[in-house]
Symmetry: C2
Subunit: 551 residues, 2 copies
């Protein structure tokens, strides 16, 4: 039941579900004489914790786990042709639902292939539970060909990790993993093959407690003081602060103090559009970000990291706020940003949302449909003009989608997901997870071509699962962001080596053939009118489609 | 100069090159007043060490390194659309030449994407030098979005690694990296962006010494004793032992002792065909491997690891040799297998190759061309019947190419490369490196479909570089090896979860459209006759082609 996992209004407790679980009570008490194996207990525990999907590309060491999926049928297996597809899909699923999906990956190399998108998920604070098969305990010492340092690898992206040491601890380990994931971390459980096969008694024991620490009253008072006084003040929203309840509380704070509302540069999941407060996004390039942020005397961070530049540029600071600017951290990791924002609004005596003027929220407004040959800006206008109510916009347009944010403030309400960790190849997999998390909502993946090629295998899973995803490829046949960064470095993008390593022409990717090759219907357009017609058709038809937008 | 790097007859010393370097002497003495930056010094040192190719997918942190490629023109940059393509290509290049290629990768996520194929390269003992850009030193502490634990990540696949701490050490660091690579290790040098930009004095200082330790006389005597006495004895060849000079020395040993010649199950690079000694390969499935190996009283390991099963299976041993079987390690890591085999032959008083009967070497023999609908065996027969002199066979056919080895003993001389670390997605990238390492030789990639999809982006680089690669896709639309392993576990491959996670039908990949989408001409065949016609055409036409073999 997806709805039981999608809870934007408060922390997620399986114990609060309507299907009979009680908080703090053990599930599935031991029935004497009934046994299952470790693999089945992992999925039984996962299911008891509310997990219902597993993005997988298993191998021989995960065979008992695959077989267990026949027994615990409430967890749906979804195959990715490459592990980066699986982990990116888990990221997308977790961002939309705030609840973890599982991944099932094969040994160290399988995990390694998924690390880049797990890095994005880690930066996004997405809950994910990875299950990694490991060689049978007694075979590990023989150093077989596929053996590698899985634990060191897992450490690069996990906020929690454990290698199962005994079949007796499997249910506890799995519950701990889910608990860690629910607090916004990547949890990785490494399970040797023989422990997957070991007989265990039937006892899935989820006793997940509250996942948030108490809000810090003193921090709230400090934030209130900073926002009330001084001339220019900003509230920077991150994490759950960008979900509807966080945004509405932030709007009340703005109403009471006149502060500006900003989001991080690459928000993991932000709800926006007509009827929600308008939030400005911190720009990517450091000069623009400094220009925006330097005007503030005081900044309050609500679930957001202190803003820093994406890269270290000579002559520019890495931190975008100076020592002189007052910075208040409203809530720390582990605290609930929404609760903190609500308490801040109360502390400030802010009016209730129902008492606020309509001007506090974005008015309905769509850009006009442009005409003629496509440009990146025109393509963004077409998308903002046509995106349906409740769309999920997955943005990996990189340089080509810069214009979209400002063009879509007044579009019908939608969610916007961005590449929080900067590792490219996130968009098409993320769209898979988003679509599976929210059936009935249209997913639009606004996608750069170079980035798309990193995990292009995602198209096949979109086709196989018949997902409602419209992929819009900005086809500029280059790593344009790198060309821009070359220019910023004073190096001509026409230099031979720069061209050799940034141009994606010769040969050009034929996106239409490629997408059909993976089983996804595709067309190519080069005018605004054709793009509009194809987007309309794709949205009305349903299912996966790819539209190459030739620039 | 590719020929200067391809040296199968002895260790590789840049000092032995014909272009003026002398062993032990510093290259490029400091010219007063001439400066370059750290990035240029890296490539200048690389070039002075004999490296002439760099498989790259750079980002903003590697811009000075890209710009440096305009200055040091002897290093050719080759773009991969995904880092696994770059690292797999470096593996292929290093296997063919015994000399390292470079990779240039972007931060932690870029390295992570390349880890699986670096794992294969590590298991193959391939020399590779990775250059990984890192954030500017002063920005690292700000934990920008793309920051992750590069060093921990590099540790999972590197035999040598260092993070450059000062521009003054760059040339030494790079020389050390190349030296480590030349001894068969993955060397990873992590270079902060500001140190790439730092002014350095012009001093590329390669003083690479001998790369092999002295052969162990006592081990040779022990091996000679083991092989002379007892009834059934085997010499298992690995590493350089599978190159021509190693094989010829092994043939002399066989002539003197009557021992069998075996290779590891997944040899990184083995030379074979008519005129070379016939070597049996240790089978993949443990029952067959045990059946082969259990008959030997004594086994000598010549550059090979002690054979173990790929996975730990209940009821079967992980080590394929028992305690009772005598095992002698002829040479350790760091020693030259060819020199050890030659000394072994001399110790045994073996005849010279020229004095040996023709029967000691495989006679020229091709299988007949089969007819009718394709099977895996028929496809292997067609390949063995048509492969040209000096072909490089890259084998990632997994279950479908099992038959090829025995069918091709008598084919014209060729090299055979296999997935030494078991991480799939190695074949198509490896073929890129092999083709660039050996212009003039035909590369035939015998490729399973599921594995090919892991790094399918490799096709684009094959197209861009116009490489002489014929990719033969065994299209069985499943992870057949997993289906076999399911059966071995007593689980029906028809179980719903097993089917969901092993079947690659619905939708079927359209390989022809996919390959054309990446710019590679492609056809699909389902008969032996059509396959023969298309292979002939592809080989005569030259350049990259893909042939889907529908099974």
């Amino acid at each position: 039941m997806l709805t039981s996992l999608r809870d934007n209004n408060g922390p997620y407790f399986p114990a609060e579900r309507s299907d009979g679980y009680e908080r703090g009570l053990a599930y599935g008490r031991k029935r004497s004489g009934v046994y299952m194996n470790g693999a089945e207990l992992i999925f039984k525990t996962a299911a008891a914790c509310g997990i219902n999907i597993c993005f997988a590309n298993p191998g021989t060491t995960e065979i008992p786990l695959v077989a267990a999926l026949d027994t615990i049928k409430s967890v749906k297996p979804v195959l990715g042709l490459f592990e980066g597809v699986c982990t990116g899909a888990a990221d997308g699923y977790g961002r939309v639902t705030s609840a973890p999906a599982m991944t099932l990956l094969h040994l160290g190399p399988g995990l390694a292939n998924g690390v880049a998108n797990l890095h994005n998920a880690r930066r996004a604070g997405t809950p994910v539970v990875n299950i990694i098969g490991e060689h049978t305990t007694w075979h590990r010492q023989n150093d077989p060909p596929l053996a590698m340092g899985i634990e060191a690898l897992a450490g690069t992206i996990s906020g929690w990790q454990k290698t199962v040491g005994s079949a007796d601890s499997i249910s506890r380990d799995m519950t701990d993993a889910v608990g860690a994931a629910l607090s916004g971390r990547i949890a990785t459980l490494i399970v040797p093959n023989d422990l997957q096969q070991a007989d265990v008694s039937d006892r899935a024991l989820p006793t997940l407690g509250p996942i948030f620490d108490a809000v810090d009253r003193a921090a709230v008072d400090k934030a209130a003081h900073a926002l009330k006084n001084g001339r220019a003040r900003a509230l920077i929203l991150g994490g759950r602060g960008c979900r509807e309840d966080g945004l509405l509380a932030a709007a009340r704070v703005k109403e009471a103090t006149g502060c500006d509302l900003l989001s991080e540069g690459f928000p993991p999941y932000v709800e926006r559009g007509a009827g929600l407060p308008q939030v400005d996004r911190i720009p990517y390039f450091p000069e623009a970000a400094l220009s925006l942020l330097s005007k503030y005397e005081a900044v309050v961070l609500a679930g957001a990291h202190e803003p820093v530049t994406f890269f270290g540029y000579p002559g520019l600071p890495g931190r975008l706020l100076t020592e002189k600017q007052k910075k208040v951290v409203l809530c720390r990791e582990g605290q609930d940003t929404i609760a903190a924002l609500r308490l801040l609004a109360e502390t400030l005596g802010a009016p209730r949302v129902s008492a606020m003027s309509k001007d506090a929220f974005a008015a309905f407004h769509r850009p006009d449909l442009p005409t003629g040959l496509l440009t990146p800006e025109k393509a963004c206008s077409v998308i903002a003009a046509l995106q349906p109510e409740n769309a999920i916009i997955v943005d990996e347009g990189v340089t080509s989608s810069f214009a979209y944010w400002d063009l879509s403030f007044g579009a019908p309400r939608h969610a916007f997901l961005s590449v929080a960790g900067g590792a490219i190849g996130y968009g098409m997999p993320c769209a898979i997870g988003a679509a599976l998390a929210a059936p009935g909502r249209k997913v639009i993946d606004v996608q750069a071509d170079g980035s798309a090629l990193y995990t292009v295998q995602a198209l096949w899973t979109q086709g196989r699962e018949g997902l409602d995803i419209t992929t819009l490829i900005f086809s500029n046949r280059s790593y344009r962001i790198l060309e821009m960064e070359f220019s910023r470095s004073g190096i001509s993008a026409a230099s031979p080596a720069a061209r050799a390593l940034t141009s994606l022409s010769s040969p050009e990717i034929n996106w239409v053939e490629m997408a059909w090759g993976f089983g996804v219907p595709a067309v190519s357009v080069d005018t605004s009118e054709a793009l509009a017609a194809e987007i309309r058709w794709s949205l009305s038809e349903g299912g996966p489609h790819l539209i190459e937008m030739r620039l």
